[in-house]
Amino acid sequence: MDFSGLNVAALLPELLVSGGGLLVMALHAAFRGRQDRQLVWVSLASVVAALAFCLNPLTVEPGYFGSALSDPMAFAGRITVLAALVLLLPGGVAYARSRNLPQAEYLSLSLFAATGMMALASAGDLIVLFLAVEVLSISLYCLAGLMGERESSRQAALTYFLAGSFASGFLLFGMALLSGSAGTLDIAALGTGLARVSGTGTQWVALGGVVLMIAGLLFKVGAVPFHSWVAEVYSGSPTVVTAFMSTAAKAAAFAGFGRVLLALGSVSEAWVPLVGICAGATMILGNFTALVQGNFKRMLAFSSVAHAGYLLLGLMAVGAAGESLEAVIFYLLPYVLANAALFLVAAKVSQAGSGNYKLDDYKGLARRNPWLAGLLALLLLGLAGMPPLAGFMGKFMVFSAAVRAGHTGLAVLGILTSVVAVFTYLRPVVYAWFHEPEESGALNLDGGLAFVVWVAGAGLLLLGLWPRLWLDLCAGIGV
């Protein structure tokens, strides 16, 4: 047997992170939970090692006979997921400790989920794609139910599990039909395989597979006809887990989705109407539902549905018109940074206030902690897409790619709904700056949370002013 195509180094970031997860589990068991406070350092060490390895040019060659890729998409996906871990793990452990949740399980499951997400971004064939989706989903089902003593968390875990496994069924059956009729499991070769069977009866089986697979993926990213689980799962899960789901998991899912649609460009007339309708409906419904929420966590949940709509628009342009993936890659990183920080801030502000994520908690925040209120405004406006922040560049790139690909109507719809989004995101800012505080007394951030908020804010500003910085880094690493 010839092992020259193996190149284990291509999967080293994933191996390091999953190894970190196993180590955390083993150490927790070996010390019977007495050393749990140190485990976060073990986890962070494995994440940093993986980050270092992503930046290492050794991983450029594809590995495992083409199953694990190392192109710009894989690089961007891995960095985005690892950045989310760096921001979320310390805050997440503090959150888990304060609410008496199992810390070791939180850490190892997060690392396993991250392994799946990274593998999803770098999947070269359908087996790896499916395994990656399942590794991340199954870990997230467990994480959603981490607060098992609480009704809301159990409910979220059950809903997420039922919706997620239903979607997995669609995804797998679609993959089976598609790969069987195209005669290959290699994602990049699906297009040529489909061209071979076009005009025969097999073509219909293949197209059925394409539609089922896209439906499964739309379900997983929470796009509109399949979004019913999002509100319950996002608001019921522990906040740090919601943050992880709506940032890293979503970014990875879109990376995998992008790969699939890129390969299916030759049959774009079969799925462009489908995805287009979903994208439009997702933008409208996500933004308007977010607008009327009185609960900060639910508002963020629905706004992440809305962002899924914009990302779908970007993916359509990629798959159907051969636009580069740049727009989607660029959109994801600032979105992840801002959302991760906002969820952690939400947990903190809510704990100090009403305890149930009421928007009213933000009234007069500027009096209690002007820096926090300022950064909150920065992050929210970044998500809304205000120049010069990175969110603006992301939206600008997605919309212009859509216009170049001929989806002008959807791009206009995107711009109009973005205006609605500005109102949504401005509400907490207005509360923070122009309302009298209901509670007096300063609201101080601990060191970890302050670090996260500052890093996210600086990242948004930096990426907005020099977008090429991140894009050139991605392009320079891969092809």
Binding site: I127, E151, S152, A156, L162, S165, F173, S181
Partner: protein, 106 residues
């Protein structure tokens, strides 16, 4: 002699049965079984395609999806047992009734 098309038809029927079951049943355990039916329909299609195309890839994929299904069942059953311990039921309607409206995490 059954051909590929027969197997595909069977797989599509099984898949449809699974989807219908998930959509109309209200018991979490029955829904879990229907999801398994969907996954196994996919396995059947994979193995049938692999056999007719003479490649082992489909069968390898089926191996992986079987282990994934087992892991999924394990986690799903654990969640259902957790719910059952608190609400005494695996029926989705009654679980929701017990939950009332208060599903906000504190």
């Amino acid at each position: 002699m059954p051909t590929l098309n027969h197997y595909l038809l069977l797989a599509i029927l099984l898949f449809g049965l699974g989807v219908t079951g998930v959509l109309i049943r209200r018991n979490a355990l029955v829904i879990l079984m229907c999801v398994e039916l969907m996954l196994n329909a996919a396995n059947l299609a994979l193995v049938a395609f692999g056999r007719s195309g003479g490649s082992l890839e489909g069968q390898a994929f089926a191996f992986f999806s079987m282990t994934v299904a087992a892991a999924e069942v394990a986690v799903g059953l654990a969640i259902v047992v957790l719910i059952f311990r608190h609400s005494g039921s695996t029926d989705l309607e009654s679980i929701r009734l017990v939950g009332g409206g208060a599903r906000e995490e504190q």
